[in-house]
Symmetry: C2
């Protein structure tokens, strides 16, 4: 049997996902949340995330932001199904000499996010670690069973949309890792998108209620990787327009300064926590106008679902076309 | 602010438990499970546990047993409320060079336990760790809202019972840690109780349905510590009979061989995962007979709830009495 690095995170998940689940589990491993039948009309959603010091966050990461992010990225998973988060349990493994004040500030950030999104923190486990802080959250949500947006329903001809702008979080991460100097406004924008992702909860709920969304997920590993999941689960391909990818001024300034390919970084960088979704083509204008009237962020059409098996083509700004070869982030394959 | 070791696990939990929770959270932090109102008749139970390599298990711990134990100890929490487990999510943080075969065997143990107790593994998160394997489980259960057994209902005069025998798991742990030689039958018994705890699910459900149980929890940190939780939450004291503490022959042989005080170790040793509960005195005989007719393990009366505030007295075998000074396990306070 190989070691973990060589099979990777997704290889292992594919392996364990073969175990059968009972009928009331409407969706197990393989979507943003597990979906469990609760009554004739309601489903329960469950999602979980583990964050490890020096893998997902640095030892000097501001703890309030870390507490916010731990919960926010899981609310983002609930948003990606169209649901409403309800309650969470938190586990901590803490080195014995860890500053308890840091953890109190982490909980302050967690509770501030929980109170804003009406999530009750109902319990947890606190235990000892040797030399890394490890955090885990399991978040439960609920929604009407008829409105659940899976990754698997995209149809040929559907239009592919994304909310907000892409790449900002990876710009923020790069600012920290590579110690790049930038204009204060741009810097604040990029760091905020990295440290304080805003789950698109209202947008997810608005979209799900229209019944015009055929597939949805959140952008956690980068569109290049995440759109591939939609294509695989829906058994289709996709075509993207590079010129349509929504980029912030701050991110464009960052790419100019660092001489990075903006489109490539925007599609491959993780942790944007925007929503990526497919709309039935005849409903697209109506949905755009519905979102515009809400307080949700702008949505942008970036491409279309096409016939085929899990291939993504990109039309570049010079009108040339090529397969999208950039991939997203795999914690095992991407790190030494 | 002090470091984590000096305030300890329970100090930190007390601190974070002060945040208010909404009304549909019937019980948050402070019991075996969180209890959340689900409908007019049903509640949802949630419990979570994190297990860290070289804190909760050794690097060479057999993985099938570890997978079993991760789920079994959480089923034990559901059993302690009287509920039925339904589904779980699992998070893993794995060093990149970790043997994937070990994790496959861990999942085999987990799935074997899940299938036996009708628990669906519905999702999870797999990520990278630096040098420790970290496992987290969040288990959901359900039950009728009228039968939930909290820790907080014990009344003066109630009889205190425990299932099975106490101390076996700490005997098993000591066999591993101190490399003690013992007769094969005794050794197998103690190691099995440590590696493969059996959640008392049927017993918990049978007891909860009688409405004669005023408080219940599972024995995870040792009766000395766990009974104190019942006393604190119920605002009572307790009196124990040393001669009544149920001990296995294997554990008695182990204590004789290692010259350990059997009663002290049985009350302070953790991880027995038996049920500890208080019965209304006029219902005790009926409940004993009900359990005897089931396939659940024997239950034994070990003492009585008394007036007072969170003091536990023990009557020794020579009829002398003293306050119970031994305590249970705190991962932060008990380790260097």
């Amino acid at each position: 049997m190989p070691d973990f690095k060589s099979i990777g995170e997704f290889g292992f998940i594919d392996h364990i996902a073969t175990h059968p689940t009972p009928k009331h589990v409407l969706c197990g491993i393989g979507d943003d949340c597990a979906v469990i039948a609760q009554s004739d009309t309601q489903v329960r959603l469950v999602t979980t995330d583990m964050m490890v010091e020096r893998v997902h966050f640095l030892t000097d990461t501001p703890p309030e932001g870390l507490g916010h992010k731990l919960l926010a990225v899981n609310i983002s998973d609930i948003a990606a199904m169209g649901g409403t988060p309800t309650d969470a349990v938190i586990s901590l493994a803490v080195p014995a000499n860890h500053d308890a004040g840091y953890l109190e500030r982490l909980y302050n950030g967690l509770y501030a996010c929980a109170d804003r999104f009406n999530v009750a923190i109902v319990g947890g486990d606190t235990t000892r670690s040797h030399n890394q802080l490890v955090l885990n959250i399991s978040l439960t949500g609920q929604m009407n069973c008829n409105h659940v947006c899976y990754r698997s329903g995209a149809q040929i001809g559907d239009l592919i949309y994304v909310s907000g702008t892409l790449g900002d979080a990876s710009g923020g991460l790069s600012l920290i890792q590579d110690q790049i100097e930038m204009d204060q406004t741009d810097r604040t924008h990029l760091l905020r998108k990295f440290h304080r992702p805003e789950p698109r909860l209202e947008l997810g709920q608005t979209l799900a209620a229209t019944d015009a969304i055929t597939a949805m997920m959140d952008v956690s590993d980068g569109v290049a990787s995440d759109l591939r999941h939609i294509c695989q689960r829906s058994e289709v391909s996709a075509s993207l327009q590079a010129s349509a990818i929504p980029l912030s001024d701050a991110f464009l300034n960052f790419c100019q300064k660092t001489k990075k390919d903006a489109i490539q970084l925007a599609l491959s960088g993780g942790e944007d926590y925007e929503l990526l979704f497919a709309i039935k083509p005849d409903r697209a204008k109506e949905i755009e106008s519905l979102v515009q009237k809400s307080s949700a962020p702008k949505i942008t059409c970036i491409g279309q679902i096409t016939e085929g098996k899990d291939a993504i083509q990109i039309t570049h700004e010079d009108n040339s076309r090529s397969p999208l070869t950039v991939t997203g982030y795999d914690h095992f394959k991407s790190t030494p």
